[in-house]
Point group: C2
Chain length 509, copies 2
């Protein structure tokens, strides 16, 4: 029970309803987490229906009960001495609702039904390397996404409407311009690196037990500031981070006996997401102020910790002794410097989620082009595999041996998620820009990082990013923090400097 006064009664009623909806969303998230981590196999059909019930209830509350409460809160906020935070909270909820209300219920149901079935078809298609079986489903999904763009409305390009769902306020043309400018520069860097003597990372591929891998990753997570009092780490088929409220933010990882880098860096990546979720304002649970800003900003947090911090020389100088303690055989005759080089090895490859930090972006560039063409209708689904393979040859110089290692590799499209991929690259760029700013504002940051004192950075992120929730768009947030909108130059400087160290290539890109 909260105490109501007449000045904020409607606003508090809105908060209560949003918290109720958030409780249902948290329950759904726990059911999903359990499904991936622990659930006995025989329970999957029942669990799917239970998740469906919870989703329907959330939807029903949002469309049937929220509008009246929101309208009352808007009137109150307009007429009273509401805080700027209250105003922004109300404004964000109205934007969400407006967008949601543009989609007819029948369309939402069709999309949910189609994507649920398409995902199962995709799983089979990938396992059996059979694009033909997935093709009609992808065609249906593309048609639905085209329809969705019409419902949402757009000015320039139908893809704008889809991009906006994941990255509010961002236009296709702007991202395209950014990516177009980056492509030749990153390609020049990639070519130079590939021409240089290659880095040896084979010593990281020696067997090491699950318990030791988990213990080492947990020690890194603790040092980063991840609270095991408010979360836990488990194993699942694919690493992920999920939240049931700021006090229970869990991460998962996957154990590969001969590849400690996989478990370690996926843990740090998910840990970066988790620090953000654990750091959101607990008292704003259920409101935009208590939510993460956007996918690209979320990804900037995971990539900053994974790449900028945990793939730095300073990181390995600090962690080398404890790493040696659990991995003595693998590190015989090695050094912190050689570990630093090994974890930064560049090697263009077929699978996005296993890509290195530089070639990764070409995976995104390819998907970004393809999604636009599919939505615009200039690329037919039946021509997709050939186009995909040509682009991988073109950008990354790799030959796709089959569709399972090509166009069928990612789950997103089967789920109906189009407009999502760009946020991964944007996240890397934001990460570099934020970290340059942090170095300006915290002059001795690197000294602190070099001795494993990560809390200086984390506290800065707390004040600059976590505390601001979803009261601003990504661009607005970036401008508040750094004085300008997204600028890829910090990323170019960062990646060039690092690869210059690793490969000895000194290229002004």
């Amino acid at each position: 029970m909260r105490s109501f006064d007449t000045m904020s009664q409607a606003y508090e009623a809105l908060v209560d309803k949003r918290q109720e909806i958030a409780d249902l969303a948290s329950a759904s998230a726990l059911l999903s987490w359990d499904q991936e981590v622990l659930m006995p196999a025989g329970a999957s059909a029942r669990r799917a229906r239970q998740l469906g019930t919870l989703a329907s209830l959330q939807h029903k509350m949002t469309v049937e009960e929220l509008p009246r409460l929101l309208g009352a809160a808007e009137a109150e906020v307009a007429n009273s001495e509401a805080t700027q935070t209250q105003r922004l909270n109300v404004q964000r909820i109205r934007e969400d609702l407006t967008k949601q209300q543009k989609l007819p219920a029948a369309f939402v149901a069709d999309m949910a039904e189609t994507s649920s079935r398409a995902q199962r078809v995709w799983e089979g298609a990938r396992a059996q390397n059979d694009f033909a079986s997935f093709q009609p489903w992808l065609e249906k999904i593309v048609a639905l996404k085209q329809q969705e763009a019409q419902y949402y409305g757009y000015i320039d390009h139908p893809y704008d409407a889809l991009l906006d769902s994941y990255e509010p306020g961002v236009r296709t043309a702007k991202v395209q311009q950014l990516f177009d400018a980056m492509k030749p520069r990153l390609k020049a860097l990639l070519d130079a690196v590939m021409a240089a003597p290659q880095v040896d990372d084979s010593f990281l591929m020696q067997p090491i037990g699950q318990d030791l891998q988990m213990a080492f990753s947990a020690s890194v997570l603790r040092q980063m500031g991840y609270s095991f009092e408010h979360g836990r780490q488990d194993l699942s088929a694919h690493p992920f981070c999920t939240s049931f409220g700021m006090e229970d933010v869990r991460i998962t990882t996957r154990y590969r006996p001969n590849d400690i880098g996989f478990l370690l860096y996926s843990s740090i990546h998910e840990g970066g997401h988790a620090l953000y979720e654990q750091g959101l304002k607990s008292e704003a649970y259920g409101m935009p102020e208590g939510e993460a800003c956007s996918l690209s900003i979320h990804e900037s947090m995971s990539r900053m910790w994974e790449n900028n911090i945990a793939r730095s020389e300073a990181f390995w100088n600090y962690f080398y002794p404890s790493f040696s303690a659990i991995y003595p055989d693998g590190l015989k005759g090695q050094s912190a410097e050689r570990v630093f080089a090994a974890v930064n090895k560049v090697a263009p490859s077929l699978i996005r989620i296993e890509a290195d930090e530089l070639s990764y972006h070409f995976h995104i560039f390819i998907r970004f082009e393809i999604e636009q063409a599919l939505v615009a209708g200039t690329l037919a689904v039946r021509d997709l595999p050939a186009y995909w393979n040509a682009q991988y040859k073109n950008y990354l110089g790799v030959t796709v041996p089959n569709d399972a290692h090509g166009v069928l590799q990612d789950v997103h499209w089967s789920l109906g998620a189009m407009g999502y991929f760009a946020t991964y690259s944007l996240g890397s760029f934001y990460a570099a820009q934020f970290l340059e700013e942090a170095r300006k504002q915290l002059p001795n940051l690197d000294e602190k990082l070099a001795v494993g004192e990560f809390h200086h950075l984390r506290e800065w992120l707390q004040g600059q990013i976590y505390d601001r929730g979803r009261l601003h768009t990504s661009d607005e947030l970036c401008t508040i923090i750094t004085g300008r909108e997204l600028d890829p130059e910090p990323f170019v400087r960062y990646i060039s400097a690092k690869l210059a160290k690793v490969y000895g290539v000194h290229l002004v890109v």
Copy 2:
């Protein structure tokens, strides 16, 4: 989506709503399970609020949406060619609702609030052996339970109204008569056993690792027919069984390094509950037909497996070799017969949940008397500890050293659960009666049990009990299966015969 025809449209709408409510209940159960098994400590306050939201939504659906659907289904069932099962489902739902509607919302909220706070006070009081701090809370709870009895209404004794919540259709006088008849007979047996040479069970108190204990208990569970495809076993502070639908029924246990019997028998006990839940009709999920009959019948299933089956000579003859394989040091110089004797050792003690199979019932007799007196107002809460201690001396011959090992030991009263305890003893009596009947109907049952072929018994329970859901009261079910209502003679025969073997006492009780 189910297909509606006009003949059963209202009935199917009722089923859909009940399934929706069951989905919310299943989600709540998973949140609670997670809370006991895995949840990080810092999440407890948020989790409690999320559970509160889910409970409110279930309540709201039940009081706001169910009555109209139920009324329509009742009209339809009365006028159409409905099946007997449909009629009974509707009838049970009406009975539940009528009972629920007797309690004013303010009373329900007061009870929930009081018990939630009282439970925390009780935890502290037990930990610090401080009855005085709990006394005012228990007084409040007793007053609320007296009020509740008034709301429900009763003919003979206010305690009838409370008993009926846990064991529908059963009257206090009938249980009292049963218990009064059993007391002297079980006391005579207890005295005879205590006068006989005592059994040695110290060889079961040697250290054995958690993995081995869990593996052995899992092998027993599998043999019983517990499906790990539709459940799992984990560790928690107190063993329990919980269901999120028939396809996901989980059990927990607790590891004690020097007491394999604890983990093993708590696993089998919870496994007996779980077989029942896994065996309920999946297609009747959400309806009385898909629910367990009553607490006493549930307890009969757990106790039958724990005591009648797993504390039998046949059980240990069969399992002794595999037990020896994991516990070779402990069993050096022992035999199946001596394990059988050890797990049946009788020793009156202070704590109900650790009591042996015979003296256990005196714990229940004491609580049953006390609850009646508290509700009738003939025993004041302040006089409770002295009365408790006197009764333990009287019935069990033990001296209660402090309230933590006496009146404060059980959680039930702090939760507002009065009228519950009798079902534990009734469960033991039902178990023996059902098993006598099974032996009549399955003439070679004991030969099958002797070779570990438990599925004959389980399939019989499936047909006789699991499949019948909650369409009948305990008494009706017992009559359908055995031709008569609850009869304690099978239990007396069973326990006398077993203790005669173990202790050599041949007493006609």
